[in-house]
């Protein structure tokens, strides 16, 4: 397997990944992780080791990096202040940059780009609201191309055909 010795620096440079190298592998993150309790595919301490060893492709290309549920149990207990939830986020940020993204994430971002919201604004939902006597939800006023641009939503990977209409 090809190793990339600079991988750890790349992660440490990502916003939130700064403290990665402080890890002394005590394993309290793994022992606290509710995902790890069910599935041993996901092991925070091991992910940090893999990053430190430079196993770039194995990490970025894996499906386990999308398993973190952001519950912050590890961050709360880490003695070294590694803030693993944020490190995980930094890993995902780099993965997206390198063209790896979980299809569900891509789908969510695509909707976000169209509506400025996490969900489609459609008649079905609005009818439910009307039935409750609540006002209809409209597409956010001023959700312009410029906002889409500064939010970096104009080049989600992978590109989809219907993006062109926005």
């Amino acid at each position: 397997m090809k190793l990339s010795p600079r991988f750890k620096y790349e992660i440490a440079k990502e916003f939130g990944g700064e403290n990665l190298k402080l890890c002394f592998a005590c394993g309290i993150c793994t022992a606290s992780c509710p995902i790890r309790e069910i599935d041993e595919k996901y092991n925070p301490r091991r992910i940090i080791r893999m990053v430190l060893l430079g196993m770039k492709q194995r990490v970025l290309n894996s499906d386990f990096i999308w398993l973190c549920s952001s519950c912050y149990a590890c961050t709360e207990r880490c003695p070294q202040g590694v803030r693993f939830t944020e490190v995980m986020n930094a890993i995902k940020n780099l993965a997206v940059k390198e063209g790896y993204i979980h299809p569900a994430f891509a789908q969510q971002l695509h909707i976000l780009r169209q509506f400025g919201r996490l969900y489609e604004i459609d008649e079905f939902d609005n009818n439910k609201r009307i039935a409750f006597g609540l006002p209809k939800v409209e597409k956010t006023k001023g959700f312009t191309k410029k906002i889409i641009e500064i939010a970096g939503l104009n080049n989600i990977i992978p590109r989809r055909e219907d993006d062109k209409n926005v």
Binding site: F15, S69, I101, L118, D125, T140, I147
Partner: protein, 290 residues
């Protein structure tokens, strides 16, 4: 009258309007005027968008804060995801002036600026700190006596504690106090603080986590589950149907948003707060009240 901007987020207005309804009907009884503001986008969510690019995530969050800041009124949020994003954004920007400058350079392109003045609180935190538990007690017309509520705190209201600073992350009491104030009985159970698992991109893992929470609640003998986060709600309400379908185990534990419980205690009917739209019907609980 306290005036506050509600930051509804995405899930609540679009997926679970009954939660919005409950807030809109209960908060005015506590002397709070909700001032709706145009122009908010997704907070953006602390899982998908943040995973895309944290700096850009921060920019959009700062934009939302800036929109509220221009009105001079403080924000309350009702969703744990929204409070997580907005609080973390505020924390990061307050800690690092260079980052603030960088984000504001981006915001300048859409003629906005975030100064760091607006205050953001979760509605329950606002109620505890600014109104006081007594005010909630006073608004109660029909105490939910004998109703045992298994509270689910979820993760993002409390953690990371360094940023959120709401309560003790291992022994929280804020929602227990809330539930006690409306006359119900908060119940402890083994998996009270477990994550609902929704953020995990897997078909089976989240369901297993949800199930272990339900098994623990069932053992505790609670009448219903009381929660604070719409994301957790989707795991638990729909989740129970999924568990029944995939594993053949029916728990039938009603999942109720904590402001819906407040609504019931304030004398509203189940329809008033949209309880009838939940997948798991709350009939057991309602029988006990009337």
């Amino acid at each position: 009258m306290m005036r506050l901007i509600p930051f509804w987020g995405c899930m609540m207005p679009l997926k679970y309007p009954q939660m919005e309804l409950a807030i809109r009907k209960t908060l005015p009884n506590l002397g709070i005027e909700l001032v709706d503001v145009d122009g908010f986008t997704c907070c953006p969510d602390p899982i998908y968008f943040k995973a895309r690019n944290k700096i850009k995530w921060l920019t959009v969050a700062a934009r939302n804060l800036a929109v509220a800041e221009e009105t001079g009124i403080d924000i309350i949020t009702m969703c744990s995801g929204c409070i997580s994003t907005l609080k973390e954004a505020q924390y990061l920007l307050a800690e690092d002036p260079d980052l603030m400058a960088q984000i504001n350079r981006r915001l300048k392109r859409i003629n906005r600026e975030y100064k760091g003045k607006v205050k953001v609180k979760h509605a329950v935190v606002m109620m505890r700190d600014d109104l006081g538990i007594e005010a909630i007690e006073k608004s109660v017309k029909r105490p939910l006596e004998d109703i045992k509520v298994a509270i689910h705190y979820g993760c993002h209201l409390l953690k990371p504690s360094q940023i959120m600073r709401v309560d003790d992350a291992d022994y929280p009491s804020i929602l227990d106090d809330f539930v006690t104030a409306i006359g119900a009985i908060p119940l402890d159970h083994d998996e009270k603080l477990l994550c609902c698992g929704k953020g995990c991109m897997d078909d089976e893992l989240p369901l297993e986590m949800t199930e272990s929470i339900f098994a623990s609640i069932e053992a505790s003998g609670a009448d219903c589950m009381g929660l604070i986060c719409p994301t957790c709600f989707s795991s638990f309400d729909m989740g129970q149907i999924m568990i029944a379908r995939q594993k053949g185990k029916t728990y039938n534990i009603p999942v109720i948003y904590i402001f819906q419980l407040l609504g019931l205690a304030q004398g509203l009917s189940a329809e008033d707060i949209g309880l009838h739209t939940h997948r798991v019907k709350a009939d057991k609980v309602l029988e006990k009240i009337v």
